[in-house]
């Protein structure tokens, strides 16, 4: 640009509203005649908008850090469908089931659905501890595969490694992660509505056309979409909506603004603060993550213990009753941490990455370590677990540290991802089964492949203990 300083300063004074009428005419004349002057004005305007964006984002991050109950350190309406006849709905329902786990649909289940009040969804997969509260006030011990869900029902996954999958009439799949509650609301104007008071939900449309519009209401926002693939992660004060395909409309409950979020963008909505939310590109993933074990919302399950000289942060396992079909439930003692609440960026599991746990147990007992993952910018991808023997952990009562390569973890269900490499880490947990071994966790970290420490054990077990 070849503008002289007098011209640029006068333009800035014009934008500041501090020019005389004669100066205004001068600016107008320059702008009409000189493309360079217009280029400068366009540049200033773009910079002003972007500076506003940058500052807004910085403030949102600070508020998210400070807001109690927030996520700690850290996301179109489709074409309305005509009201379907019973026959039409039945046909659609069959399509839905054909693209889901069709084996789970028995004739009896279908008959049950066909003779009851209008069903909204079919439960096609349940894993881990869960609870079902019916619209009639009836409470079941656990959500069951094959059961249908009607308006007013509430489903809850009660442990961090639990998951529940639902298929809607248009074959859209809803996957609830652990520690998630969802309530089915009565449809309005052909909009299928759900309440998500806490937890994580993945919405994945079928490939068939004619998607039903659905909305997900969290404590901070309402998400509406038709045919979009998106995820919602929410606490009581903050929600993150990430769109991976299609478009979602996010309306903030704080000020009623609606934000259109296209694919590969996300929006973070918080009840705290006063600044406007906006859709931003989904951040690049990181290959490392350290949990500071702050006393915050990233801890999903556990009990805080008083610090000692050797361990400033001590999170003890909390009891959790684990249902098993046709058997008595098993009592677990679990420490669970929500990684997504503790990282501004998605945490990528790479080939060769290791997960490091530091902790202790009072009595010699095997510890089960596990994590939950989702596809990068995608849907729930499964859970992976590994049992470590008391011998590998070292003497009871002493602090140990294990570095567990991803290759040692096994997938829990065949229908999900078979290997964790390339997935996004969302939750981590450690637990003991049946007896309380006094498990406590002091530190958790995802180590990148190049930063992994040689265990000195020949590479095979890759679990080391280092008494302190």
């Amino acid at each position: 640009m070849s503008l002289d300083r007098v011209q640029t300063e006068l333009l800035l004074r014009f934008l500041d509203g501090a020019v005389t009428q004669a100066e205004q005419r001068q600016v107008e004349a320059w702008l009409q005649a000189d493309a360079e002057v217009r280029a400068f004005l366009r540049e200033v305007a773009e910079q002003a908008v972007m500076i506003g964006d940058v500052e807004r984002t910085a403030i949102s991050c600070q508020e998210a850090l400070l807001a109690p109950g927030s996520g700690g350190s850290r996301r179109q309406p489709g074409v309305p469908q005509p009201a379907g006849s019973w026959l039409t709905m039945t046909r659609v329902w069959r399509v839905a089931l054909a693209v889901s786990i069709s084996a789970l649909l028995t004739m009896s289940a279908f008959a049950y659905w066909a003779t009851s009040r209008p069903s909204v969804a079919l439960v096609t997969d349940v894993s881990g501890a869960s609870q079902y509260f019916s619209s009639t006030g009836r409470s079941e011990h656990a959500v069951q595969t094959g059961m249908t869900v009607v308006a007013g029902d509430t489903l809850e996954s009660r442990s961090c490694d639990a998951s529940i999958t639902l298929v809607l009439l248009d074959a859209t799949t809803l996957t609830m992660a652990g520690q998630t509650a969802i309530r089915v609301l009565r449809p309005e104007q052909e909009l299928q509505r759900f309440d998500l008071p806490h937890g994580s939900l993945w919405v994945s449309p079928s490939r068939a056309s004619g998607h039903q519009r659905l909305s997900v209401r969290t404590p901070a926002a309402v998400v509406q979409a038709g045919g979009a693939q998106f995820s919602v992660q929410t606490s009581q004060a903050e929600s993150i909506v990430r769109v991976n395909h299609g478009v979602a409309l996010v309306t903030t409950l704080r000020d009623g603004r609606t934000i259109a979020v296209p694919a590969d963008y996300q929006v973070q909505v918080s009840l705290a603060g006063s600044d406007a939310c906006q859709a931003v590109p989904q951040p690049h993933p990181v290959g490392t993550w350290t949990c500071s074990l702050l006393k915050g919302p990233e801890v999903s399950l556990g009990q805080w213990l008083a610090p000692t000289e050797s361990a400033a942060m001590r999170l003890a396992a909390a009891p959790l009753l684990w249902p098993i079909p046709d058997r008595d439930p098993v009592l677990l003692h679990v420490v669970a941490i929500a990684v997504w609440k503790n990282s501004e960026r998605p945490v990528l599991l790479k080939d060769g990455s290791r997960i490091q746990f530091r902790g202790r147990i009072d009595r010699p007992q095997a510890v089960r370590f596990g994590f939950v993952a989702q596809k990068m910018r995608g849907v729930f991808a499964g859970k992976f677990e590994l049992d470590v023997s008391p011998k590998e952990l070292g003497p009871a009562g002493e602090t140990w540290q294990v570095e567990l390569p991803l290759s040692r973890f096994r997938p829990l269900a065949s229908q999900w991802a078979t290997a964790p490499e390339g997935l996004e880490l969302t939750d981590l947990y450690a637990l003991t089964i049946a007896a309380d071994a006094g498990l406590e966790i002091n530190h958790v970290e995802l180590l990148p492949p190049e930063a992994a420490v040689d265990s000195g054990l020949g590479g095979s077990p890759a679990a080391v203990h280092s008494p302190r």
Binding site: L31, A48, G52, D53, Q76, A279, P281
Partner: protein
């Protein structure tokens, strides 16, 4: 074939900075400019008439952003010395004539440039373009003269322009702003 909703959103998000900037030139308020962009987006999605091409959508978006800005000023009864419609048309046409990058790429470049900018300069930019202070108010808060503010802003905008251009060129060669 008309643009579908996803294509409309993708295009508007890509051009978000420029459309918001077109609104900012009218209202001189970044928060209002952002609101106007959101209104333009919602209107584009709920509008009865379809867009047959990207050019048609962009042309409509720039004009609508400007009109929304003018309407807002009228509602607020604000006295802003606006630009002649001919100049606003020229600005809109020139914005549309030049290829645009994804908004996030430019903002990431700006962020890197701002990180290398002295604190007092960042504070000035914030006071002026985020807090919405006039240059006179910024001068008072920073304890410097008004003429010095204009001079500093002039230098800052030029330095940021060069820095962003360099970052974007570098990104073009390396395939991304960050490894």
């Amino acid at each position: 074939m008309p643009l579908d909703e996803a294509a409309i959103l993708q295009l508007l998000m890509k051009w978000r900075t420029r459309i918001s900037a077109a609104a900012w030139i009218v209202v001189r308020d970044p928060h209002m400019a952002e609101d106007i962009f959101q209104n333009v987006t919602i209107k584009a999605l709920t509008r009865a008439v379809s867009f047959e091409s990207q050019a048609a959508l962009l042309s409509w978006a720039f004009i609508t952003a400007r009109r929304e800005g003018i309407d807002w000023l009228k509602r607020q009864q604000r006295e802003v010395r606006g630009l002649d419609a001919v100049v606003l048309d020229l600005l809109g046409q020139e914005w549309q004539a030049q290829p645009e990058r994804a908004a996030g790429v430019k903002i990431e470049a700006l962020l890197e440039c701002l990180e290398a900018t002295p604190d007092d300069a960042r504070r000035l930019l914030r006071l002026r373009y985020f807090d919405g202070h006039s240059c006179a108010e910024a001068a008072e808060q920073l304890g410097i003269g008004l003429d010095a503010i204009y001079k500093r802003l002039s230098r800052l905008h030029e330095a940021l322009r060069l820095c962003i251009e360099n970052k974007l060129q570098l990104a073009d060669h390396q395939g991304g702003l960050t490894p």
